[in-house]
């Protein structure tokens, strides 16, 4: 772990300045050195194509790939190894699941349900299906970020083929009631897909208990390599899908293409480590997250946590600092790597659609910051971030006309602003 610390705290590659503290674990995670150790031999030594049937190079690669599939990925989620398909990442898995399943059953079923807070790849896949003539329902969420189960049940029609709801939201960390949703879907005969990229390896997930039919897994969210993921596709009852990527019929014909052995081994190693260390990591991350939130809330007034405070993954903390704009706060916290839901940080100048879906006031959506805590975060980093945050928010509030008006007792909602 010391080696990792030293490597990370080296000089930055581009900007010749010391690198910031990393507090953006929802965006990506550093690869665990143990995962790298597992992968390296398959890069330079055991480099065969796992689909080569005729020689030892192929056999040893295939064996490694199957070990990763069986003992590691499948074990983590309680699946059969034949149900795991390696892909290039959760985006591809989501595309495959949504488009593949919808298109296969399109003769009789042309309705798909999803939520307004899904990841862009899910929403965009649904948009493509809409242009193909499908009808999509985008379910709203409540102000705490959770779905209304009655509304969900009411939205299911006889021609619904698929329901897609993400397990843990990547922006606000909210955890949907997956077991109940799975139960509803099973009782109505609708396939249940969940984008579990942020959940796998962090909370216990069992595809049988939760009645999940399809699940997307991402490598680089669980300290594994980038460029690999997996899709769980249930065999009993069988889920049929049209493949998106055609070719030599690898991965049960659902995803043709050479499986990248080193990446698959890396994903397997990451899942295996996650399974063994899940409880320890979860406790530690919870402790650090509580520490961060309590420090910040004690040091600053008018801080709002976005998303349900209880039904969430603790490592994803999304806070709105009223009267301070998100991008200016990110600039102020330049030695901490964070992310914001504000418009200025997106190319389109629109604030985050997730925050809008939970009904956050528009100005609060511009004021949000996401803190991501992970396996390698230390207490000093959390303390430093909290102190810096308190200091800079206070400073920015001194510069803010909105704060000034609120101190004078003016109700901001009563002012007629000049629109732009």
């Amino acid at each position: 772990m010391t080696a990792l610390k030293n490597a990370v705290k080296g000089q930055g590659k581009i900007y010749n300045e010391p690198r910031p503290l990393y507090m953006d674990f929802q965006a990506t995670t550093p690869m665990d050195p143990r995962v790298l150790d597992a992968m390296l031999p398959y890069q330079v030594n055991y480099y065969g194509n796992p689909h080569s049937r005729t020689h030892a190079y192929g056999w040893e690669s295939e064996s490694a790939m199957e070990t990763a599939r069986k003992q590691q990925v499948a074990d983590l989620i309680g699946a059969d190894p034949r149900e795991i398909i390696f892909t290039s990442g959760a985006t591809e898995s989501n595309n495959m699941a949504i488009k593949g399943v919808a298109r296969f059953y399109q003769a009789k079923k042309r309705h798909v349900i999803t939520t307004q807070t899904e990841h862009k790849c899910v929403l965009d896949s649904c948009r493509v299906l809409e242009s193909e003539g499908f009808s999509i329902t985008y379910l709203p969420v409540q102000t705490n970020g959770l779905l209304d189960l009655e509304l969900l049940e009411a939205s299911i029609r006889p021609d619904t083929s698929l329901l897609s709801v993400m397990t843990i939201n990547n922006e606000i960390g909210v955890r949907q009631p997956i077991e109940e949703i799975g139960q509803i879907c099973r009782s109505k005969g609708v396939f249940f897909h969940t984008d579990a990229a942020q959940a796998v390896g962090k909370i216990p997930l069992n595809v049988t208990d939760c009645k999940i039919d399809l699940m997307s897994i991402s490598g680089h969210k669980i300290y594994g390599p980038k460029g690999v993921g997996a899709l769980y596709v249930r065999r009993r009852p069988r889920v049929r899908m049209e493949p998106i990527q055609n070719g030599g019929g690898q991965e049960r014909g659902l995803r043709s293409g050479t499986v990248p052995t080193p990446l698959a081994v890396g994903l397997g190693a990451a899942c295996s480590i996650a399974q063994h260390e899940m409880e320890y990591d979860h406790n530690r991350v919870s402790m650090l997250a509580n520490r961060l939130v309590q420090k910040i809330m004690a040091g600053l007034p008018d801080v709002i946590m976005n998303g349900d405070p209880v039904r969430r993954y603790p490592g994803c903390v999304n806070l709105s600092f009223a009267y301070v704009e998100g991008e200016s706060l990110l600039m102020a916290l330049k030695d901490v790597a964070l992310s914001s839901g504000s418009a200025c940080t997106s190319a389109s100048l629109e604030p985050s659609y997730v925050l809008r879906a939970i009904g956050a006031d528009e100005d609060l959506a511009h004021s949000s910051i996401r803190f991501g805590i992970g396996r390698f975060t230390t207490e000093e980093e959390v303390d430093y971030t909290a102190e810096k945050c308190i200091h800079q928010v206070s400073r920015l509030r001194e510069m803010s006309p909105l704060w000034e008006m609120v101190q004078e007792g003016i109700d901001l909602k009563s002012i007629k602003w000049t629109q732009h």
Partner: protein
């Protein structure tokens, strides 16, 4: 072969230009913008009720940008002091800070000539941030308009008082 090299070299030039720092729009701030944020000039408030102070409040919290710019004008029509407060991104803060720097010492008419393009050029704002400089120009104009209004009210009152 020579022909091939001749065709490839402009491509190389283009790719080098495209990866030059000015084209990386979102990932780092120009040092002038950072400077204005870390050492802001003229943050604060002037007395709103004073006859010599014009206050401009532009933008909307829903858009993520609100600027308040105040100017103090002496009896000769010259701006002697300016203050700002901004709710907005780094470029918005820098634009309004620069605006207060530039209006100081100018007459009311000269200040009206300040254009958003000048602000954007000075701060090297990328295209996606140009609206910040536009808002700063609006803030200056709003402050000047408010001052003018106060002066007109003053004159009308003086006329009424003498009648």
């Amino acid at each position: 072969m020579v022909l091939l090299l001749k065709c490839l070299s402009p491509l190389g030039f283009i790719t080098r230009r495209l990866s030059a720092p000015e084209f990386i729009t979102q990932c780092c701030y120009h040092k002038k913008v950072v400077d204005h944020y870390e050492n802001p000039r003229n943050v604060g408030t002037l007395d709103k009720q004073s006859k010599n102070v014009g206050t401009g409040l532009v933008g909307a919290p829903a858009c993520g940008d609100v600027m308040k710019l105040q100017i103090e004008v002496d009896d000769q029509g010259k701006i002697v002091d300016a203050r700002f407060k901004t709710f907005g991104c780094g470029s918005a803060i820098a634009s309004s800070s620069l605006a207060t720097e530039w209006v100081k010492g100018k007459s009311v008419d000269e200040a009206l000539m300040i254009k958003n393009t000048d602000i954007a050029k000075e701060l090297c704002l990328p295209p996606v941030k140009l609206h910040c400089s536009m808002l700063a120009e609006d803030a200056i104009k709003a402050a000047l308009a408010d001052y003018r209004l106060k002066q007109q009210d003053d004159q009308q009152e003086a006329v009424r008082a003498s009648n």
